[in-house]
Amino acid sequence: MVDAILRADAVSKSFSGVEVLSEVSIALMPGSVHGLVGENGAGKSTLMKIFAGVYRADRGSVWLDGKHIDFGHPLEAMKAGLATVFQEFNLLPDRTVAENIYLGREPQKFGFVNSKKMVADTGAVMAELGIDFISPSSRVSSLSVAEQQIVEIIKALSFDARVISMDEPTAALADHEVQLLQSVIARLKSRGVGILYVSHRLNEVFDICDAVSVLKDGKLVWDGLIEEITQPEMVRLMVGRPIDAFFPPVLEGTTIGQTRLEIFEGGNEFVDSINLSVKSGEIVGIAGLQGAGRTEVVEAIFGAVPFSRGLIHIDGVETSIRNPRQAVKAGIALVTEDRKAQGLALEQSILDNALLTVRGAHPSRTRGARRDAPGVLSSLEVNSTNLGQEIQFLSGGNQQKVVLSKWLLTNPRIVILDEPTRGIDVGAKVAVYTLMRELALKGVAILMVSSELPEVIGMSDRIVVMREGRLQQGLGPQADEAQILTLATGTIALTAEGEKS
């Protein structure tokens, strides 16, 4: 029996008192691909970051090649031979492939950088992996996402990595690019490198992994060889989290009325064939994996990156939305995914932030909005001493409530929420949900994008699932997590018995 090259022993990690990893043990064999699967928040990324030296484990130990390791800096992990390819790239777009790979370790001759050797060495590593489509001297910015991903892997290998962990390496790749990556992974395996493979795409996991660990809510719930499990079983293991009781019910008197927002065959460079409608008083949830094009759809509706094809009707009237200003004028509100970068002016006061949109889009209404703002803010229970306080000092939950106030003050007819509860506490979450129900009661049409399946299921009247830039079929409010995951990942359909059909 070969010894594990990387082993985690009862690793636990908490963030501000919440345990995100609880006594997780896994063993990665050399020359094998080990899948790590689980829902959002299951603890996959945290475990990876502990291996990468980004976080330190609270309890438990990690062993690399029989040696106990405890990295304080990502560079230590790389030098020890444990490389991580994160979702966000660590490459300099303006430099060449070779320059990126040897950054800080440029080979020298007589005190000068030996560019020839650098290019030759890079070429040698690539040739070994059968990569002949990337030139070592081309700029990284000229490469496709898949090629950049491969450059990251080559960089990892140039450190003589014996373990490479990859976080969702195919999330942003098209099908043919996925195959490219998989052939590189096959070569790595044959060289005895151990690969930890985090992915949501179960088809891929079954295609390339030798063993797999399933995480749920920070705990290891299954661990074994890939032959010992079927896809439907895996989906069942991943989900089944009890739906939290804090989703408020539909308010009495809420009626689903006329269609407020309707999109016919919407499309642009990022999404295609979008047919979607939201009625007044209705909450429609958009589910899907990271990179499936959910944010791109709401950005297109809001005119941030508009549709270049198709039509948008608002209350039955064809409406052209080429930029966010037109969207706001048409009564659309968008609570963006990235609160700090896209939702708030962090150095400004609560009041200024709340008035931001009204001032910009409806200057004549500013006076009235200024009168209403304190009421709206306090109805959302924004906890702060005074409205002149700079918003950067508020908690995430309170910041999100200010974003919501900003939009409520414009009296929107259509409210779009992109990951509305990301990074906020439970109390604030409930406030957001309650507000959504109240808006529905008033006849507002609501479109919500969320990666939290319980949230999508708990709040939506109707659910649509996105995959690879297109909408899959719609589901009713009774949909379960397994159904959504099946559509989102492109897994084969479940039969009544839950076996492979």
């Binding site: 990502p74 300099l92 303006d94 950054l103 950088v113 990022f270």
Partner: protein, 321 residues
């Protein structure tokens, strides 16, 4: 097409149009005398621009260059007033003081984490304050043989311009063939990626600031040679702080760091020198000269920013794109 080749195409167009305009006045743009004027105009701005390129590549900025130039011209001229033997001492002293200013700039930017704009503005003002209180006008005098350096020329090309181009070649070598140069690009591109790759992220920034002040010091020495004296206002009069930044930007280097080339800057410097020469030759309204310069800067940056495209992945490519 690279930004640098764009710059030289622009330079070519400017030269052609300029030659036609000058020709219409009955004069020859390509006469030895006129070319020498153009090249002379390039030398001082070129020296400052070379240093400014390094600083901007490392994602900083240097507004103290005009004051360093004035200081350096005074130190050189005053040291040299004792006669021909002190030329070398004067040059070395002027460069030492310049390098010291650069070191302070670099340390304030990296260790005290003050943005380059503010750090060098502050250091520049400190030098200005010293110069204003100590000098009431020009001071010192340089020996005849040293004045020769500023005015000598081989054919149409002044020796000072050859020196400037040699420095540009040396900096090109530094940027492309040494670790320091590679790391200047890396830190300017992303300090975080550089840090995670194990670089000491402050050294490249400090080095580029020292080299920038050194090249400004050289420019000051050159001006002392031309004027025969040192002057506390020689740098500010030329507006070399903003003009050098403009030349760097017109040359295709991004103010956000990590992208650009030294030859682009030299092209930018040449464009400004040609424009100046042509506008003088056709007796263009001097107040409108700055309007033209301003237009060139804005148009250049507008072109570059159109060229830099988003890297978001396209899933459904559209026809005609």
């Amino acid at each position: 097409m690279s930004s640098t080749s764009l710059v030289y195409i622009a330079l070519f167009v400017v030269v052609v149009i300029g030659a036609i305009l000058v020709g219409a006045e009955g004069r020859n743009f390509f006469s030895t005398g006129n070319l020498r004027d153009v090249f002379t105009g390039m030398s001082v701005l070129g020296l400052v621009g070379i240093g400014q390129t390094l600083v901007i590549l490392s994602r900083s900025l240097d507004l103290s260059v005009p004051y360093v130039m004035s200081l350096s011209s005074l130190i050189a001229a005053q040291t040299m007033s004792s006669g021909g033997a002190s030329i070398a001492v004067g040059v070395v002293l002027a460069l030492l003081f310049s390098a010291a200013v650069g070191l302070v700039n670099g340390l304030v930017v990296t260790k005290l984490r003050v943005h380059g704009f503010i750090a060098t503005l502050g250091v520049g003002l400190i030098i200005k304050g010293y110069l204003d209180t100590t000098y009431k006008g020009s001071a010192g005098s340089v020996p005849k043989e040293f004045q020769f350096i500023g005015s000598a020329a081989i054919g149409a090309v002044p020796v000072s311009t050859i020196g400037m181009l040699a420095l540009a070649a040396a900096v090109y070598f530094l940027l492309t063939k040494t670790r320091t140069g590679h790391h200047i690009y890396a830190v300017g591109g992303s300090a975080e990626v550089s840090r995670l790759s194990g670089l000491r992220t402050s050294s490249p920034v400090i080095i580029s600031h020292v080299l920038c002040s050194l090249s400004a010091g050289l420019a000051g020495i050159l001006l002392a040679s031309r004027l025969g004296v040192g002057s506390p206002t020689v740098g500010t009069q030329g507006g070399y702080d903003l003009l050098s930044i403009a030349a760097v930007v017109v040359g295709g280097t991004l103010l956000s760091g990590g992208h650009g080339s030294i030859w682009g800057t030299i092209g930018g410097v040449a464009i400004f020198a040609v424009l100046d020469s042509v506008m003088s030759a056709i007796q263009f309204n001097p107040f409108l000269k700055d309007v033209v310069r301003g237009l060139v800067i804005v148009v250049a940056v507008a072109i570059y920013s159109r060229r830099s495209s988003e890297t978001k992945r396209v899933r459904f490519p559209e026809k005609g794109k």
